[in-house]
């Protein structure tokens, strides 16, 4: 019985490691191919290593194809969306988890339903809406980063509110109660007590807002008509040519696009886990 367990456990260990390697392999292949010299990439016999790593592909992507610009555009959109969406979602989450009022359930269900709406279909009316906004406020019209910020903000909010609600609910109310008895104002309670306690949740939520904005392909493709204001996902399509794809360039650009998300994940991962842990241990 004991021995069986040990064999089983070793087998599980091996299986876990194999699955981990399989999962991570595409990412390894992406970075590796980005570093490979041109000849090795188009080789009919690709090898899982390279002895002549080069930054040529990155240089090409950033220089020739203007990926530096797209990178900054993407970053600007994502950062604005993360910050604004965190602030708005925090307030809304407090309202929905700390107060009882009429239509509360209705509003909650609307936030849930909003996540189900196929946003790609909404690009059709949004295209015309943004076009019309542009005639009044060009900063938010077609081909503006402002439009992308607004649209991505709207589509990351429902999930952010939904997720944060759980984190707010997990904070014991006794803390606020104590602060209230000590004479703290509503604003102080919100900002000094609740906000720091929900911060891990905000970090976790930010990851999703960041990903929504950073990964957005369909809005960037539809609403941005000039190349200057393009963001990474849509700009990546530039590398795809009908006859021969520049895989080195695509992989370098893909790496540039993946790295910030990975960094973000690693940075907030601890908060995510502690946030989840807090909710679990409650």
């Amino acid at each position: 019985m004991k021995r069986d367990n040990r064999v089983l456990r070793q087998g599980a260990n091996v299986l876990a490691i194999v699955l981990a390697l399989l999962t991570v392999f595409p990412l390894y292949w992406m970075v590796l191919s980005a570093l490979k010299p041109k000849g090795e990439i188009t080789s009919a016999h690709p090898r899982p290593w390279t002895f002549a790593p080069t930054l040529d592909n990155f240089r090409n992507a950033l220089g020739v194809s203007g990926f530096g610009r797209y990178f900054l555009n993407s970053m600007a959109v994502a950062v604005v969306v993360v910050v604004v969406s965190a602030a708005i979602a925090f307030l809304a989450a407090v309202a929905l988890s700390r107060f009882k009022f009429r239509f509360r359930t209705t509003i909650l269900i609307m936030f849930l339903v909003a996540q189900m709406v196929p946003v790609e279909a909404l690009t059709i009316p949004l295209f015309f809406l943004v076009r019309d906004i542009g005639t009044v406020a060009p900063g938010f019209g077609l081909s503006s980063l402002g439009a992308l910020m607004l649209v991505n903000l709207a589509f990351s909010l429902p999930f952010a509110v939904w997720m944060l609600r759980g984190f707010v609910a997990a904070v014991p109310e006794s803390l606020e109660e104590a602060a209230r008895i000590d004479g703290a104002s509503r604003f102080t309670i919100l900002w000094r007590i609740l906000f720091p306690l929900v911060a891990p949740g905000l970090a976790a939520t930010s990851v999703f807002s960041f990903i929504t904005a950073w990964n957005d392909f369909v809005f960037a493709k539809t609403l941005i008509l000039d190349t200057d204001h393009q963001t990474l996902p849509a700009a990546l399509m530039v590398f795809f040519k009908p006859d021969e794809n520049d895989w080195g360039g695509i992989m370098a650009a893909s790496t540039l696009m993946t790295v910030p998300v990975l960094i973000f994940f690693v940075l907030v991962q601890r908060h995510m886990v502690s946030g989840l842990g807090g909710a679990v241990k409650d």
Binding site: A12, L21, V24, R98, Q115, E120, F155, G201, V261
Partner: protein
């Protein structure tokens, strides 16, 4: 109980028996009857200011467009729009392509959901059974796949599957084989990418759920003579049920709406549109064929299907009587 509060996502829905409502009432008492309603509404105001014009209004416009005749002439303002009632819908529903696209969307989503859940659940159970290092390794691998944008996930897998210089063909010795040529092979490859992207969410959520089951409960069951299978079926499954409902529904919604992977990997819907799913179909009808109202009608139909899923979801949350 712990299983329902494992992640923020686990904390879903609303329930009439929600006890939390009691405590805030104490806070309200201080603010007097006049301040009673405004506070939560003030807090919700910023969200409303963003969501009503940028989410609600476009949704209304989507519905409106779907009952108009609205193509390129109307879009550029040269021709007045015209109300055509449900004729866009009869056009869509009378089109054989719509039904075949709907069918393959459902089949594709169903396959992705089942595969994602199977892989995610197996990995979650595996995580509870392995040593520290294999566990960390699998966690980080999954985190990487989760973090990878849909766009780069698609490009990397396209490269792996490339006809001439792809690693997959090299390993299998099938140089020159085009994986995206055959309809079902192309769908399968996209499904691989979708599962790769989404199983980490299932894995990590379920793992957290399993971890949240108190050891004392499992120990008690073991002392009572319950075997592994019984513990799994009688204790773990019921306790994980709320989480399972959530990951199933989330997966259905995500996989039904897959856009980027299909659009990028199959070049906008595959050879002669063989790999279209509803989302891409609506988009192509609107922006490529420039028949915006027809695209909108498809979008409305899709929204209705997803609303039905949501309704089932909310009902099952309510019926299970979980504290949500």
């Amino acid at each position: 109980m712990p299983a329902t509060t494992v992640t923020a996502r686990a904390d879903h829905g609303d329930s009439p028996v929600r006890p939390a409502g009691g405590a805030p009432a104490k806070g309200r008492r201080r603010s007097g009857p006049l301040a009673r309603i405004p506070v939560p509404l003030w807090l919700l105001l910023p969200a409303a200011l963003v969501l009503i014009p940028l989410f609600g209004y476009p949704l209304y416009q989507l519905g409106l467009l779907s009952v108009l005749k609205f193509g390129q002439p109307q879009a550029s303002g040269g021709v007045p729009t015209e109300f055509v009632g449900l004729s866009n819908y009869t056009d869509v529903l009378g089109d054989a392509q719509f039904w075949s696209v709907l069918g393959q969307t459902l089949a594709f989503a169903a396959f992705c959901v089942v595969a994602t859940l199977a892989v995610g659940a197996v990995c979650a159970v595996l995580l509870t059974r392995v040593g520290k290092w294999p566990r960390l390794l699998l966690m980080f691998g999954a985190l990487g796949a989760w973090a990878a944008p849909a766009m780069t996930g698609s490009t990397v897998w396209m490269f792996l599957l490339d006809t001439n210089s792809g690693l997959v063909n090299e390993i299998l010795g099938t140089q020159g084989h085009n994986w995206m040529y055959d309809k079902w092979s192309a769908f399968a490859m996209v499904a691989v990418v979708v599962v790769w992207h989404s199983f980490p969410f299932v894995m990590i959520t379920l793992y957290a759920g399993i971890q949240a089951i108190p050891d004392s409960v499992l120990e008690a069951a073991r002392l009572d003579g319950a075997g592994t299978a019984t513990i799994f079926r009688r204790i773990m499954l019921p306790m994980l049920r709320p989480l399972l409902v959530i990951v199933v529904i989330q997966s259905i919604i995500w996989d039904f709406k897959v856009f980027t992977q299909i659009y990028v990997m199959t070049g906008g819907g595959g050879i002669a549109g063989q790999n279209l799913v509803l989302n891409v179909y609506a988009y192509q009808k609107a922006f490529v064929a420039e028949n915006y109202s027809l695209g909108a009608a498809i979008g409305v139909l899709m929204t209705l299907i997803l609303l039905a899923v949501t309704a089932v979801y909310i009902r099952s949350l309510r019926r299970s009587g979980e504290e949500l």
